[in-house]
């Protein structure tokens, strides 16, 4: 149990940072560039850990310094609860609702930190993060709840026994559609839009505080993609050695991220915060709700279309 906890934490840390490197390299190649080293996120993280953390003269230094810790702690906990590449998670069982709540904590930490930073950029960034969070969580939660309904349980071990993309593809599309917003990249990097509000909530952070805040965001991107991979692609393919399992799962996630995050990032401009809500609450949410309604009505259209393939 201790061993699996340690493995899960180390894997989550390494994978999250490697994922950032992969994302940046894919984006760079779309722009005729070579991009940074794949370990760039590691270099950034450890460099920042070695610097000094300054707290600005704000009314609540507690909240300001608490935000990064909250962000990382919640994500490390989530890494233990999601069954990363195995039929059980590191602590044995895992609840979907718990994971959804945990995944919402890094944005909330960002909002707290941005509001507590005493800068107008932080305040505007925090407000935008609120709008973004409400926007993309909606289709995501509806999709996840649909899957739980179909699986009959909120336990992740039960859910991940089936590859739900083969039964609820519309919900899968809705969930994958929210990936760029969860990763906070173009077109949805509005909370930390450099050219508009410098770095938004991050602007007053430095040193280990900044390193942890960023780490929380990177872990969230990785675990969000992991959750989608685990729920919609299942863990039934992972019957090899644990290390091989981790590598396979990481490969799937890297593919998801490269196509749906990096490529999208390279080919769009930043959108406006007033549009994001409308964007996510229309088609993605409707897709997720459609699958929910169809499932409740007993229409197993995937079985109807592909039943001959033995799904």
């Amino acid at each position: 149990m201790i061993a699996s906890i340690v493995v899960a934490l180390v894997y989550a840390f390494v994978a999250a940072l490697l994922l950032q490197g992969i994302r940046r390299i894919v984006v760079a190649h779309s722009q005729f560039r070579k991009g940074p080293s794949i370990f760039q996120a590691f270099y950034d993280f450890f460099k920042l850990m070695g610097k000094e953390s300054l707290t600005p003269n704000v009314t609540s230094p507690l909240l300001f310094n608490l935000a990064p810790i909250l962000s990382v702690a919640s994500m490390l906990f989530a890494a233990l609860v999601i069954p990363l590449a195995a039929s059980a998670s590191a602590v044995g069982a895992g609840d979907l609702i718990l994971v959804i709540y945990l995944l919402a904590i890094p944005p909330i930490a960002l909002i707290l930190g941005g509001s507590a930073s005493g800068s107008p950029y932080g305040a505007i960034g925090a407000a935008r993060e609120v709008a973004l969070l409400i926007a993309y969580e909606t289709p995501f939660i509806v999709a996840m709840v649909t899957v739980a309904l179909a699986a009959g349980s909120f336990q992740l071990t039960t859910i991940s026994a089936t590859a739900w993309i083969t039964v609820l593809p519309l919900a899968a599309i809705a969930a994958i559609w929210t990936l760029p917003a969860a990763a906070a990249v173009q077109p949805f990097d509005i909370a930390e839009a450099e050219t508009e509000i410098v770095s938004g909530p991050y602007v007053e952070y430095s040193g280990p505080n900044l390193a942890l805040l960023q780490l929380g965001q990177w872990l969230k991107t990785f675990l969000y993609a992991s959750l989608i991979a685990v729920v919609f692609f299942g863990t039934t393919i992972y019957h090899f050695e644990p290390v091989i399992n981790l590598i396979i799962q990481f490969a799937i996630i890297a593919l998801l991220v490269s196509v749906f995050i990096a490529f999208w990032q390279a080919t769009t401009a930043r959108t406006r915060v007033t549009r994001v809500l409308r964007y996510y609450w229309t088609i993605p949410t409707m897709l997720a709700i459609a699958d929910l309604i169809l499932y409740l009505a007993g229409v197993r259209y995937m079985h109807f279309l592909f039943g001959w393939a033995g799904l």
């Binding site: 984006v27 779309s30 722009q31 005729f32 560039r33 009314t59 005493g118 800068s119 107008p120 950029y121 305040a123 505007i124 407000a127 173009q186 077109p187 990097d189 509005i190 839009a193 450099e194 050219t195 508009e196 509000i197 410098v198 390279a266 080919t267 769009t268 401009a269 930043r270 959108t271 406006r272 915060v273 007033t274 549009r275």
Partner: protein
Amino acid sequence: MTVAEVNDRGFAKLKVPIGPSHPALEEPARFLFDVEGEKVVDVDYEIGYNHRSIERLCQERPMPKIVYLVERICGICSHAHPLNHVERVEDIADIEVPERAKYIRTIYAELERIHSHMLWAGIAGEEIGYHTLFMYTWREREKVMDLFEMLSGNRVMHGCNQIGGVKWNISDEQARSALGVLGYLDTAADKITKSVLKDSSIAERCKGVGCLSKEDAIRLGAVGPNARASGVAEDTRVMCKYAAYGDFDLEPQIAKDGDVVAQALVRLAELKQSIGLTKELIENLPDGPIQVEYGEIPPGRSVGRVEAPRGELIHYTETNGTRFFERIKIRSPTLANIPSYVPKFIGCQVADIPIIAASIDPCFSCTDRMTVIKDGKRKIVSAQELKTGRI
């Protein structure tokens, strides 16, 4: 700064500073926006961060140095300023510049326009978060900079203009090479235009943003592509026919709406026009000398205009028969365009601030040349004050 006030609809009232050091600005200037929620209700601005007391220095340095001094006013318009300057001196001293020199000057001017508009396209993309457009346009722009390096030895600050002619000749081999690059740039310009105008995320961010009506453009004295984007059909190259422009048929490129998309349309159309014009210039380059001898510069004065990439650049030059200039006055296009910021900013969203700031292609280096600043304090010019300057 705490968010203490809320307006009557519940939106927080904030004062958001942009600058002097901010990723949205290429050069330092300070804007202070009164923001309610995401909407800008008022703007203060302040310029003067790039003061280098150039006009004062022009009176105190001997004449041969002034061409170099004037060249260093701005990196992007580094040909327009000395071009205007030498044309003024040639006007005062009645120096007749050979045809070949005029053509070479025009070639440099058009190449500068090409690289400046590509730079603008990249910066505009960067401001709306579209980093790929920035990388792509600047990659193509490198071809122009390599061309400059081949022709004059430098990417910017070419040192090409002299009183009475130009310093660097263009050999046949260089001309052939340049035509090849221009052919490539023609295709690249088409690709850039297509990707900017057909992209839905760009259209979503730029359409209807930062509108300037034609009446406001004329009344506030806007110049260059900024004015042409609002429908004002004035182009100094067409109107004044300086250098070699008299031999060519040019039309001012105009757009109607005055928003950021119109600015893009005008600049991209000018980019294409300049590429075609440069090809014609190189193909029809006349033979002959590139420099004439001249004597003393008599006392006199001249005022004249040149179309820099950002608009109409005007120099007033006065000589008094000594080896120093009596007075040189430079009004760069961005100073004329700054008042047009006010109608563009009021009513926009915070997300639109960087793209509107970049849309007039500001060059604060050209604008702040004049004062010797003795202490570091700055002052804010309020939009209210600009607004009450109107009738």
